[in-house]
Symmetry: C2
Subunit: 410 residues, 2 copies
């Protein structure tokens, strides 16, 4: 049965997309706290932006047809009948043959349809010499040009960027409904794992690396992290701690040893948390094959490889999209990848997706991806890398100079 649960990268991503969704109801937060959170409502504007016609330059509000044919040698002559102040209503209606001075951003008076720039006029007493003609609408923004009343400004599922907060401010929406940050609990397992602050290591002991790398990566994806610590390879204590953390979190990540014994424990613990249980038992990928994905109730539980570098690659490939799902985020219309040429031949096995760590170099003839070699357990290889390149399951390798797409590490 287990055998049939080994999946490809694409199949695993389909399971993630199909099985999981936000675990908790949306919350309302002040706009500034919503940065990088995911919108949980469609937002329509109750008003138009701007809500009055504005000048985009310093100059004089006019009727365009009063300026037709005006030139340096044959200026148009208008009466200056008012001065519009910033932030004030333009109260005096503009009539034919008239002009009113207006600052950038000032409100266009009724009757006017355009603005002549200050560089193209000369004020002589109450008279204005206009040396350049303007067209209706020139140098102004009309009411509703930015946002129309009733317009759908933003849809649920959008991760909020600075400019998105800006347009929400513009329509006076200072609180928004967003999906709460998912709570991710991380539990490291392994008899050899000791806390990172242990000073003198005994032979056989290894400092815990995954707790901090996975916590940091999860925070970058918008999660709140519970650091669950380390448990030994003892089924009872492992299962007990996992159960506690599962109940406190929206996603439980188990970073396990890669020995057969530990893998078996990890799987049993994941099954013990509830139905339907394990969905993906191994991914045909290198590195990261021993990845396990389960569902207990409606919540996901993932077993990551014990090697820190493999665990972080699996995080980028599967946990990051899972965290997007748990935040209700819509998939982007494009993937953020940098095209580059690979600097040397790399062999790969057909039927397995290989992920090669690379360093990017911007050379005179374009961008190059230089493979960073080293066994998959070495965290230092990831430190030297900018991102990774996939060699897809149907390829035997890639040739020097071939175009690849680099998935950047954050």
């Amino acid at each position: 049965m287990k055998f049939f649960n080994v999946k490809t990268v694409t199949e695993t991503l389909e399971v993630i997309a199909g099985e999981f969704q936000p675990n908790r109801p949306p919350i309302e937060v002040p706009l500034i706290d919503a940065l990088e959170m995911v919108l949980a409502e469609d937002v329509r504007s109750g008003e138009q932006v701007p809500h009055f016609a504005r000048s985009t330059v310093d100059g004089f509000a006019v009727l365009a047809r009063d300026t037709y044919g005006a030139s340096d040698s044959l200026p148009a002559f208008l009466d200056v009948t008012g001065r519009i102040e910033m932030g004030k209503e333009a109260a005096v209606r503009l009539m034919e043959g008239q002009a009113q001075s207006i600052p950038t951003g000032g409100m266009l008076p009724s009757g006017a349809d355009s603005v002549v720039m200050i560089e193209h006029v000369e004020e002589v007493g109450d008279m204005l010499n206009v040396y350049r003609q303007v067209a209706p609408g020139e140098n102004i923004i009309r009411a509703g040009d930015d946002v129309k009343a009733g317009e759908l400004v933003m849809s649920a599922g959008q991760r909020l960027r600075p400019q998105d907060l800006g347009v929400l401010s513009a329509i006076g929406k200072t609180k928004v409904r967003v999906y709460p940050r998912p709570v991710v609990a991380i539990l490291s397992t392994g008899d050899e794992i000791v806390p990172a602050d242990k000073k003198d290591l005994a032979p056989g002991e290894i400092r815990d690396i995954n707790s901090i790398t996975i916590a940091a990566a999860a925070r970058q994806c918008g999660a709140v992290v519970i650091e669950g610590g380390i448990v030994s390879d003892d089924y009872a204590s492992f299962a007990l701690r996992a159960k506690e953390l599962f109940e406190e979190s929206d996603l439980l990540l188990l970073s396990g040893g890669s020995s057969v014994g530990t893998r078996d424990y990890t799987e049993q613990v994941m099954q013990s948390l509830g139905e339907p249980g394990v969905l993906v038992h191994g991914v045909s990928i290198k590195p990261g094959k021993p990845t396990i994905l389960a569902k207990a109730g409606r919540k996901p539980v993932m077993g990551l490889p014990g090697h820190p570098a493999s665990a972080l690659i699996i995080f980028h490939l599967f946990v990051a999209p899972l965290l997007q799902r748990l935040q209700g985020q819509k998939p982007a219309a494009y993937h953020q990848r940098i095209p580059a040429r690979i600097s040397r031949n790399i062999a790969s096995a057909v039927g397995r997706s290989d992920y090669i760590r690379v360093k990017l170099e911007e050379r005179e003839d374009g961008m190059w991806a230089v493979p960073v070699f080293g066994k998959s357990g070495l965290i230092s290889t990831l430190v030297k890398s900018d991102g990774m390149v996939e060699i897809s399951a149907n390829k035997e390798g890639i040739l020097e100079g071939e175009l690849v797409h680099v998935h950047l590490f954050q």
Copy 2:
């Protein structure tokens, strides 16, 4: 004099790189708090990682030469003399003709030089039949393979990613010296600007957008933000508030109106803060020409355009690199830009850098950048965009299908 201070984009970036540096001394923080902060020290490892040779598979530790020539039909026979436990010292020396069982990650016993995978052996009582030969070093990681003792693990100026925290954990470094987050104060000016939460706008009034967009963008760059609020176009109150905020911050951003009057005020206020004063007075760029950069003492002060979309583009181009400087960050070896083809012709004026907002579309024949049009004051254009494309000062425009590089908005 002012005239000579109008600079190109490149010249402005050179001023930023040449004039500014971290304003405050480094601080020591726990590792997990250092995520995305900039390292202020060179870190050398005091130990080797791993500090003992480890197996990368489940199997049996052996002397490689004892397995030479072994095959399914002609296995090698070894004595099983021990079982290595995870996290424990491998205490029993391995002699010629012997094997010891070892889990993935277990410590290699002295005397052994390789590990045979469990799939390639059969245990019969105390005897081991080995069906595959291994080479010295096979299936093991040697002591120091990941990090050597005394090795320079990371240099000052590196922004810390999850994997960087991982390698620091691995060497037991749980506190690091980093540059403190720069404090950015933001002050909006303009008689027409009212707080975003004002419900019913009077004619001529506009809600404050820049305060939130610039605050959000600054946070994404690692800054701590002081929201300075809004001041009217009154020199005395503007100058007083600017002075207060300047003293509390490492970078003061003035988001001013674009009218000539307000621009003059902004410049006077910037000059009033101290010597040497204004360094860049206008950039030959569209949008964003009225950008002003000053230095008072050792601290930068910037005047951003009043239009929210222009202000945010200027933020990406100049404030983000300035914040990197203030955090002591080394420039990256590559720029994060997505190559794409432009979907239509765009004209531009020679002598001025134009920044075109674009949406990215991943089509069957590759990535396309589709221009998002609209006057530069419209914040909604930025919401519809994924990034921007530069038309450099020496070009008259770009042609449909031409390759461009998209600088992504965060």
